[in-house]
């Protein structure tokens, strides 16, 4: 049997030899990237928009597509040079320093673990609570209303988060096949639910359905206008003209969703064609996800009305007693556009399922990182062991589950950690990779010249140009997330931890190194390249 020629990169000849496979399809990669982007976080964007007077949600998202896309380009090009699993751990260890690679991986894994538990909490706060609150109001059921309210209590948050963490922990322990079986159905239902949501909002935008009429019907005549009037009376600025500065400030919110599409590196095999695969997948994934966010934002505004969105969110944060709704998350509001319990369930499903999926994704990332450290000797050897029965990394899953539950408890019962706590920490890692991308082509000229990443724009290496844009954007995201405390999305502890976590990573690296040295292992040899003479 001969190998079909089409598996070879264009212009090269191949022979019968193992490993010659086509890349993962570009569409598959793009799909993966769309799933990495945390689309449900649009509930933050629509709700918190009011605190950026004059900001355009849609323009901010488009700006983010460019900035996150640039960082995505750096990741895609790096992964074409080093097509190995491990992402930034590999890039930075190879091209800058192993300690930086490890500290970045440590920080990313820590924050991903944090968001494993926190996304479990988000399922309660932004998924279950709006679902049952809407159903309770529409069906006039106090029991459902109370159930919805319970999901927003500390115990409701903690127990729901715990259930999500334990479910996915067990799911991962049973092996990736089990995980993908669950995920397949969740994704299918989730994306049908997104389509229904967009359809409902679009009908609301055209006037075929009326949010105002339905809200007044459920909560009493004049409720819609009453919310706007109450907010204005309380000092809300609902008529601000367009502000570019506020739009840029607002871009940290879509960034929180879109930047994570870059985590889909390391699929490349031996046959590498940078013009497709990762490049199209990552950048395309950011564009598709970004445009989906823009569509939801636009139709939300058109269906519900700018003033009501801003007024209700303002009251929710500043004067909740004046708000006749239990929350202002877009899934709750969108439920009143159609005002049908069946449609309410259909509209809310994707917020529950995809938020839970974001939790699962963070668990997969973090457990894989801990597993890799176990193999590399940067964590106890047990971390690199697998279950004989299910072939899953048992200890790394256990570690991630325990840490996630501890952080979930802190989040649920105290005010020390808040929703934005991890964004600057992870943004810092994206920033470091983007910065490394600027100098890569110059510091590692030979590797760059011989790689598929050798693409230029205006005579400059594309990875460097993307690195400059991505660095500027990520620097802004880190700074914005650190300083944006207008509505308590950040805290002193989280600011501190942005720097403490990577420092712990550095310390861990050198302590592990010393420990292994004392056991007779020369860790310096691990990444030291043999000189070619």
């Amino acid at each position: 049997m001969t190998v079909p020629m089409q598996v070879a990169p264009a212009g090269t000849f191949t022979r019968a030899s193992s490993g010659l496979v086509r890349q993962v399809g570009t569409l598959d990669t793009l799909w993966y990237c769309v799933l990495q982007a945390a689309l449900p976080y649009v509930f933050f964007m629509v709700a918190f928009w009011t605190f950026y007077p004059g900001a355009s949600m849609e323009l901010a998202t488009l700006v983010t597509i460019v900035g996150a896309g640039a960082t995505g380009l750096v990741y895609a090009l790096y992964s074409s040079v080093y097509p190995r699993s491990g992402g930034e751990y590999v890039f930075l260890s190879r091209t800058v320093h192993p300690a930086l690679g490890y500290a970045s991986s440590f920080a990313m894994a820590f924050w991903q673990t944090f968001y494993f538990g926190i996304n479990g909490a988000f399922v309660a706060i932004y998924g279950m609570q709006p679902l049952f609150a809407a159903l309770g109001l529409q069906m006039k059921s106090q029991a459902l209303t109370d159930l919805g309210a319970w999901f927003a209590t500390p115990w409701g948050i903690f127990l729901t988060g715990t259930a999500v963490v334990l479910f996915f922990g067990a799911n991962l322990y049973l092996g990736m096949k089990s995980y993908f079986d669950v995920q397949r159905w969740a994704m299918l239902i989730g994306f049908v639910s997104i389509a229904i949501t967009l359809g409902v909002l679009a009908l609301g935008a055209t006037g075929a359905l009326s949010f105002e009429k339905n809200l007044d019907e459920v909560l009493g005549a004049g409720t819609y206008q009453g919310v706007i009037t109450a907010a204005q009376a309380d000092g809300a600025d609902l008529g601000a003209g367009f502000s570019l500065g506020e739009t840029i400030r607002f871009s940290i919110w879509p960034a929180w969703s879109l930047l994570f599409a870059v985590l889909s590196v390391s699929f490349s095999g031996e046959i590498r064609n940078v013009k497709r695969g990762q490049l199209v997948g990552i950048v395309g994934g950011i564009v598709v996800s970004g445009l989906l966010l823009v569509a939801i934002q636009y139709f939300s505004r058109a269906a519900i009305g700018d003033q009501f969105l801003q007024a209700s969110a303002y009251l929710f944060i500043n004067n909740p007693d004046q708000l006749p709704l239990p929350s202002v998350w877009i899934n709750l509001l969108a439920s009143f556009v159609a005002n049908s319990p069946i449609i309410t369930i259909a509209v809310n499903l994707w917020f529950v399922l995809l938020t839970a999926y974001v939790a699962a994704v963070t668990a997969v990332y973090a457990s894989r990182a801990v597993f890799a450290w176990g193999i590399d000797g940067m964590a106890p050897r047990q971390a690199g062991t697998v279950s004989e029965r299910y072939h899953s990394p048992t200890w790394s899953i256990v570690v991630v589950v325990i840490v996630a539950l501890v952080l979930l408890a802190v989040y649920s019962f105290t005010d020390t950690l808040v929703i934005l706590s991890g964004l600057p920490g992870m943004g810092l890692v994206f920033l470091v990779v983007s910065l490394a991308g600027i100098t890569f082509a110059y510091r590692h000229r030979e590797t760059y010249e011989g790689s598929p990443a050798r693409l230029s724009v205006l005579g400059l290496p594309l990875i460097a140009v993307a690195g400059v844009i991505g660095s500027a954007f990520c620097a802004w995201v880190v700074w914005g997330a650190l300083t944006d405390d207008t509505f308590g999305a950040n805290s002193d502890l989280s600011r501190l931890m942005v720097f403490v976590v990577p420092i712990v990573g550095f310390i861990w690296f050198y302590v592990a190194r010393q420990y292994r040295m004392s056991r007779g292992t020369n860790v310096d040899l691990q990444f030291k390249e043999i000189p070619v003479e």
Partner: protein, 315 residues
């Protein structure tokens, strides 16, 4: 004794030079390549009218204006494990759709590269006090072994049990069937027989090293993307490759049955690691030959203590 093991260099000149430097760099007494030393790609460098050349390499169209440019690209291609071949546009066209003609060109290029490597090994290891073992594996033509055997410094352990400083090493580079029908693909039964034929020569399994190219099935050192009938990677519901075990059941059974001290494997580039299979420590160093990086395993052995230390290194 310090042993350095690597595998799957796939014709990378840079990796070969690094391998030859391993005794000095790592202080290794024994250096071993577990097979797959030959390349899979020929990259034509096509002469164009007007004294220029073009080549499509790594998905990037490259235009070369001078002989120096051609030499630079050729070195880059060789370092990444492919074979650069200069040819005219007509000659390039003559290969179109003719796989047998391409295979003939591979035969010439592969053996030429191995001859060059043998020459380098004889020069560079001439005054080095280390034993050097290199075997072919499933991707290597059988003729490769004959060229290796012409070396004064390289020992070819294929199908033998050799004594190594108080230990015994059993070597089989053949592999279980792959979708590509490679030169040394054989059935699981035949692979098992080849291993079992050698095991009676092992005196003490506690001092035995099984140098078997294919990792044991289900060992986590053998995870590769699942393929469909057209060699497409099968993606999961989230779009990432579905990883499945593709190792050898014969190798698995042999290790479980005999429990040697150490199992050294390669074959699956993306599945590096050190694990245990019963009492046996098994290792796959992985491979990053296209980046010119030499992934290896460094093992300190003591006849009375067995494996004193083992670590993955990227050189």
């Amino acid at each position: 004794m310090r042993l350095y093991f690597c595998s799957d260099l796939h014709a990378s000149d840079r990796c070969w030079l690094k391998f030859l430097a391993a005794p000095k760099f790592y202080g290794a007494d024994v250096i071993i390549i577990g097979g797959d030393i030959t390349g899979k790609f020929i990259v034509p460098i096509i002469a164009q009218p007007g004294g220029t050349w073009t080549s499509q390499y790594m998905g990037v169209e490259r235009r070369l204006a001078s002989r120096d440019d051609v030499a630079r690209l050729a070195a880059m291609i060789s370092n990444a494990g492919s074979y650069p071949v200069e040819m005219s546009l007509e000659e390039y066209g003559s290969y179109d759709g003719r796989q047998e003609r391409i295979d003939g060109l591979f035969g010439v290029q592969v053996l030429e590269r191995v001859r060059h490597w043998v020459q380098l090994a004889d020069e560079r290891l001439a005054n080095v006090d280390a034993r050097c073992f290199v075997q072919g594996a499933n991707d290597d033509f059988l003729e490769v072994d004959d060229v290796l055997r012409t070396s004064r410094r390289i020992e070819v352990p294929e199908g033998r049990v050799v004594d190594v400083d108080g230990f015994q090493m059993l070597s089989v580079g053949y592999g279980n069937p792959t979708p590509w029908n490679c030169p040394r693909d054989i059935s699981e039964e035949e692979l098992g027989e080849r291993i079992e034929r050698l095991t009676p020569e092992i005196v003490d399994m506690r001092r035995a090293i099984f140098n078997l190219h294919v990792p044991p099935w289900g060992s986590q050192l053998d995870l590769a993307p699942r393929l469909d009938a057209d060699f497409n990677v099968v993606a999961t519901s989230s779009g990432e490759p579905e990883m499945v075990p593709v190792g050898s059941t014969a190798v698995h059974d042999a290790i479980v049955r005999h429990q040697p001290l150490l199992g050294l494997h390669g074959h699956i580039h993306e599945s590096k690691g050190i694990k245990r299979l019963g009492a046996t420590i098994i290792a796959n160093p992985g491979s990053e030959y296209q980046e010119g990086l030499l992934d290896g395993v460094l093992i300190d052995l003591d006849p009375s203590e067995g494996v004193v230390n083992i670590q993955l290194v990227t050189g």
